[in-house]
Amino acid sequence: MRSKILGILSLVLMIVNLYMIFIFAPNEATMGVIQRIFYFHLPAGLLSYASAYLLGFGSIMYLVKHDLKWDRLASASGEMGVLCTSLSIMSGMLWAKPVWGIYWTWDARLTLQFLLALIFVSYLMLRAYLPEREKRAALGAVFGVLAMVDVPFNYLSIEWWRTQHPQPVIMGGGLDWDMWKVLIVSFLTFAVLYAYLLGRRMAIAKVEEDVEYLEHAILAND
């Protein structure tokens, strides 16, 4: 029921959001139409950080409580993390080609985002090679904790390594009030969509576990 409401809500919000992004939002003075990618790019980027924290939180909770529910949260966040990091990287690349003239540069934010994507993928790969349910949860959780501890170190080292990135415009107050409105709706839309997808993924993980359990039970009876 809750997931149905979230699903319908995200559909409605997405339509409103698309209207606002493509029709309501004013054109940016120097970049023009291409700046509209920003309304997809920023929410995806921020939600990828949220995924990292959710993964870490789920992992710690699993190690403390030993309840598989938390492991499902962690693994679903890992998959959402791959989705959000790749969305933000790809939309950023599409934006960077006309504005910066290049798809990619080893600048701090880009490198960090790419590294975050790699960590999510290696977390999912580790899980894929652990057939046993409890073992997968325990080792996945330990790796989740280690990976979460790694994020601030990555941030520091990459920040010191490369800091040519232009500071984000929204903090400088350079954003038009109409653009702000679009951005807020975009955040809201993506947050609702994220919650919906995360919830669905966790529900599917529960079903997968039940199937696995039944398969074992049938094999044991044969």
């Binding site: 590294l115 790699l118 652990l130 080792l139 280690l146 501890v149 080292s157």
Partner: protein
């Protein structure tokens, strides 16, 4: 004998008899140095620009080889089960493994480093000692995270392949810090080097603590 020293002692005895870990790391390290000489034309570019990178690629990849060996040894003949039955805490087992891995990596690096100096026409002076110091810090960081990750990967179906997949993304801060610090020493401009060294030391301390606490979840059945 204290549990941690007992584990180090056991690993050293095994290594002295088999010599598998150190010799494979050593050979691999030298091979990396060699292959990079072909990958970058030796005379055409300024060696000091790429030398730090080559050194740390050699060190961090050789470390993965040694770490894989260290855990494969425990997995053969169910040796790990025996270790778990021994009267010591899981965290102590981890610390012992870190110490022995760290020692073997350092021994291999001690031989790779002079070869690196000769290949790149550097000098055996104070710089050399400074790089050795950075190598100690960086190796401790790699051993701290690698010892727990190799135990995790030893549980998976594709043991040897899994470790680099897990370890390389997480050791990026170590590689960046170590390469930057080495480059600073080689170029002679050591202003600001302390922040990189603090980062390496902080990384080691944080991972030693966290891994000590969570290691029991990795080995429990």
């Amino acid at each position: 004998m204290k549990p941690v020293t007992a584990i180090i002692f056991k690993d050293i005895v095994i290594e002295m008899r088999s010599k598998e870990s150190i010799s494979s790391m050593l050979m691999f390290g030298i091979l990396v140095l060699t292959i990079f000489s072909f990958a970058f034309e030796p005379s055409s570019i300024d060696r000091s620009l790429i030398a730090p990178g080559i050194l740390w690629v050699a060190f961090s990849f050789a470390a993965i080889l040694g770490l894989n060996r260290s855990l494969a040894m425990e997995m053969d003949n169910e040796c790990l089960q025996g270790l778990l039955l021994a009267p010591l805490e899981r965290g102590e087992l981890y610390l012992g493994k870190v110490a022995s891995n760290f020692t073997f990596m350092l021994i291999a690096e001690l031989i790779v480093l002079p070869v690196f100096v000769i290949f790149n026409n550097l000098k055996f002076n104070l710089q050399f000692l400074e790089i050795a110091g950075i190598a100690v810090l960086g190796t401790l960081a790699i051993a701290a995270i690698g010892s727990i990750l190799s135990t995790i990967s030893a549980n998976t179906r594709m043991k040897e392949v899994m470790l680099p997949v897990l370890q390389i993304p997480l050791t990026v801060p170590v590689v960046i810090a170590a390469v930057e610090a080495t480059a600073m020493v080689l170029s002679g401009e050591t202003k600001g080097i302390s922040s990189w060294l603090y980062l390496l030391a902080g990384f080691s301390i944080v991972y030693l603590t966290v891994s000590y606490l969570v290691f029991e979840f990795v080995v429990e059945d």
